[in-house]
């Protein structure tokens, strides 16, 4: 599974970073989401899913590897 952020939609709520700091951080200029680990380790998929579902902007997407190619 891969996680993607649409930076046009992202407004810097940082909910993803709060929920799964292993995968997400935020930049120091605008505070928008930064994906540190695009390929999500199996152990973190559930947490990343939660981050996706909590994004108030709907800016995150979790996609299966086949789709992302």
């Amino acid at each position: 599974m891969r996680v993607r952020v649409n930076l046009t939609q992202c407004q810097g709520h940082a909910r993803c970073e709060d929920i799964c700091p292993e995968v997400f951080s935020t930049d120091a200029i605008e505070g928008k989401a930064v994906i540190k680990v695009e390929l999500v380790p199996a152990a973190l998929v559930q947490k990343v899913q939660l981050a996706v579902r909590n994004c108030p902007e709907g800016a995150l997407r979790l996609i299966k590897d086949k789709e992302s190619q």
Binding site: Q11, G12, I29, N54, P56
Partner: protein
């Protein structure tokens, strides 16, 4: 809410079935939670989009998705010149009161100072202030939470960020009180002048003695072309920080502490998670969801039909976050306060380009306050007078006093 006072006739483009007599500044005596006037509307089956002739006349959106669209579609729902009741001319707050792309100029200037990275660096300062405030009354076994804590921390942080002396706290509290509570046009116009005068003096001082603070940064700000930004816009930016940072956090905290004071299980739950950052942040998000104190304003930019409802250019719109946050289609058991809520897409800080820039500071202030408070005062309750509540409505909802006691 029904009222006996004179009601102006609604504009002709509003069909009678969409008119509800609702005055969101008026909270009936005895109602302890001003947000209830909004939830009552929903329970009574008010139309999802309705018009009230009160306060100069305005639309209200009640559906989560419409509220979200109201925030996102800045081309239709502008933040420029939105006061309710209308007061003109009204300052154009920077960057809140201008639409993209002009909005970028000041947004990008302020953004680096309010990112999670920047706010984490302020944590020690917030803790220091929080502990100092709590120490000042902890041994007495009583405080008025609003006067002694919830106003002092966010306003003190504002003064700290702007590089203003701590002694000016009462002055800023008074100014903000009129700004948010008054719907008297003369008082409001006078208040605006006073606020601008205070900010002008602040910038004069910074010009003479530049410091490493937010006020100096704004004063020295340059546009993309390298030229200094117009002075008036800098005043408008300082005005925004004043308006946005003081009252909202105060009232959110007041709501949260009243809930904790009256709910033993919630106090126990908070004590359990004080040193578990994930669980504490989940709880803080839930407390921000259920205690969404702000009702935001927008102005319709052109004659249009929004969701088949005819609206005219310059119509005002109110977006009540508290209603969005309890939409059963979006939140499971929306009226239940679940400190472990897993999926919580609340809109307390708005969404879209004007998402509250100070949200990370606000959350940090609440989170640190909870930690410092429970370390020192693990058990507390409302005093007897605490049950007599003077609640107020308007753009920021809350109540005047919160007397707490502990053993």
């Amino acid at each position: 809410m029904m009222s006996d006072t004179f009601m102006p006739s609604p504009p002709t483009h509003v069909p009678p079935e969409l008119i509800v007599d609702f005055d969101f500044f008026q909270v009936p005596d005895g109602l302890s939670d001003p947000a209830e006037i909004w939830h009552q509307l929903v329970r009574e089956g008010a139309p999802k989009i309705f018009y009230t002739p009160r306060n100069g006349g305005h639309w209200v959106f009640l559906d989560y998705l419409d509220i979200v669209e109201g925030y996102r579609d800045f081309q239709l729902f502008s933040t420029y010149q939105t006061p309710i009741p209308p007061i003109e001319p009204f300052p154009t707050m920077q960057p809140q009161g201008v639409d993209p792309p002009q909005h970028e100029v000041f947004r990008m200037l302020l953004a680096p100072m309010f990112t999670p990275v920047a706010i984490r660096q302020r944590t020690a300062e917030i803790e220091r202030r929080s502990r100092r405030n709590i120490d000042s009354f902890a041994d007495t076994g009583a405080c008025d939470f609003i006067d002694d804590y919830a106003t002092k921390l966010p306003t003190g942080m504002f003064l700290h960020l702007m590089g203003l002396p701590e002694e000016r706290l009462p002055e800023f509290l008074d100014l903000s009180n009129v700004f948010f509570r008054s719907n008297d046009n003369q008082a409001r116009a006078q208040n605006l002048e006073q606020i601008y005068r205070v900010l002008d003096v602040m910038f004069e001082d910074k010009k003479a003695q530049p410091r490493d603070d937010l006020a100096t940064k704004i004063l020295q700000a340059r546009g993309h072309d390298g030229a200094l930004l117009p002075y008036q816009q800098k005043l408008d930016c300082a005005f925004l920080l004043f308006v946005a940072g003081l009252d909202t956090v105060t009232n959110t905290m007041a709501y949260i502490w009243r809930y904790l004071a009256t709910t033993p299980n919630a106090r126990a739950a908070m004590r359990e998670r004080l040193h578990d950052p994930d669980a504490l942040m989940r709880a803080v998000e839930e407390l921000f969801r259920i205690n969404a104190v702000s009702n935001l304003y927008r102005r319709v930019t052109r004659d249009t039909a929004f969701k088949s409802v005819v609206m005219k250019r310059n119509d005002r719109v109110v977006l009540p976050n508290t209603v969005a946050n309890r939409n059963p289609a979006v939140f499971m058991d929306p009226d239940v306060i679940d400190l472990d809520r897993q999926v919580n897409r609340h809109v307390t800080f708005g969404v879209g380009p004007h998402r509250c820039l100070g949200s990370h500071l606000a959350k940090r202030e609440v989170l640190v306050s909870l930690q410092c408070w429970f370390e020192r005062i693990p058990e507390f309750r409302l005093s007897d007078e605490g049950h007599r509540v003077h609640a107020f409505g308007g753009p920021v909802m809350g109540f005047r006093n919160l007397p707490l006691i502990w053993d």
